[in-house]
């Protein structure tokens, strides 16, 4: 079967949506299972302070899970794709600032304990995730015939 331009974009959109959906669900599970250690991971980034780190550890994993499920089943995709971009952007900023400040901490991106440290590879990984999420957003917006952040 030949893939024309429209088909190619359609399949890429589907692939990215399912890929990000699965990734977010996978990333949320360990964090939901270990809220206190995850709060410590968040606190180690030294951005939010102790109290807000705990609330972040309570809310963000559930948000990842919810957005992951919405992306996977294709319901409320417009909102889920937008939140996905915001999440990826936030994660990149957090990793980047930790690297610039020279913090020797675990990423906590997928697993709470025993994950790789913050470094160039993590920055590249998070940059690719952000780019992927932007591509997904653009493809979806074009398919829906609008280009705005919030329509």
């Amino acid at each position: 079967m030949m893939l024309n331009g429209k088909n190619w974009k359609h399949w890429l959109l589907l692939l990215l949506r399912i890929g990000f959906g699965l990734m977010l669900i996978a990333a949320s599970i360990d964090k939901i299972r270990h809220p206190m250690p995850f709060a410590e991971v968040v606190e180690n980034y030294r951005v939010l302070g102790e109290g807000l780190s705990r609330w972040t550890a309570v809310i963000v994993p559930c948000m990842e899970l919810l957005v992951g499920i919405l992306l996977l089943i294709g319901v409320w995709s417009d909102a889920a794709i937008t939140v996905n971009v915001l999440l990826m952007f936030t994660f990149l900023i957090l990793v980047l600032q930790a690297y610039i400040r020279g913090l020797d901490i675990d990423c906590g991106c997928f697993f709470v304990e025993g994950e790789s440290k913050i470094g160039i590879l993590k920055i590249i990984e998070n940059t690719l995730f952000l780019l992927g999420s932007i591509v997904l957003y653009r493809l979806y917006s074009k398919q829906r015939g609008n280009d705005g952040i919030i329509s």
């Binding site: 250690p37 709060a39 102790e50 963000v60 559930c62 948000m63 417009d78 939140v83």
Partner: protein, 156 residues
């Protein structure tokens, strides 16, 4: 606007689901600690991890009671000077073995970093009304690596 409303709903549902999941979780963050996040007493009254260096400062100032959660035989071999022995499983069989002054600062430790035992016990103690329960984030292991003082014997 439809998308914006949906984003708000995703945020609210995440908040509610997160709080509910956390409260149902056996090792969830105690509500008391979440509530303390909005209180100025937060920094002075909490259950939280501390670095080995901060623990050492407490040790030097004698501003905290160290509690060793390892089995009694390991405690007898070596422990932080002055630390009380309160093996994790013994505590859950008989909570009265833990010192009863709820206003002191306690620093719990086991050998490994981020040990589950210290977190579970800390959570339990906060529920029972202890005001400041800390635990050594990187465990007794790092205390030894930093060659901080230790002592042997059955202890107090």
């Amino acid at each position: 606007m439809k998308r914006f409303k949906r984003i708000i709903i995703i945020g609210v549902v995440s908040l509610l689901a997160g709080v509910l999941t956390n409260q149902l979780h056996r090792e969830g963050i105690p509500w008391r600690l979440l509530a303390l996040s909005f209180s100025s007493a937060n920094m002075n009254e909490a259950w939280r991890p501390v670095s080995t260096d901060s623990s050492f400062v407490h040790f030097m100032r004698q501003s905290a009671v160290f509690v060793d959660l390892r089995p009694q035989d390991k405690y007898t071999l070596d422990h932080i000077p002055g630390a009380r022995s309160c093996p994790f499983f013994n505590f859950f069989k008989n909570p009265s073995i833990f010192p009863d002054d709820k206003n002191l600062t306690y620093i719990l430790y086991c050998f490994e970093p981020m040990c589950k035992e210290a977190r579970i016990m800390g959570q339990q103690l906060i529920k029972e009304g202890y005001t400041q329960v800390l635990f050594i984030r990187n465990g007794y292991k790092e205390w030894l690596e930093k060659t901080f003082p230790v002592e042997s014997g059955a202890g107090p």
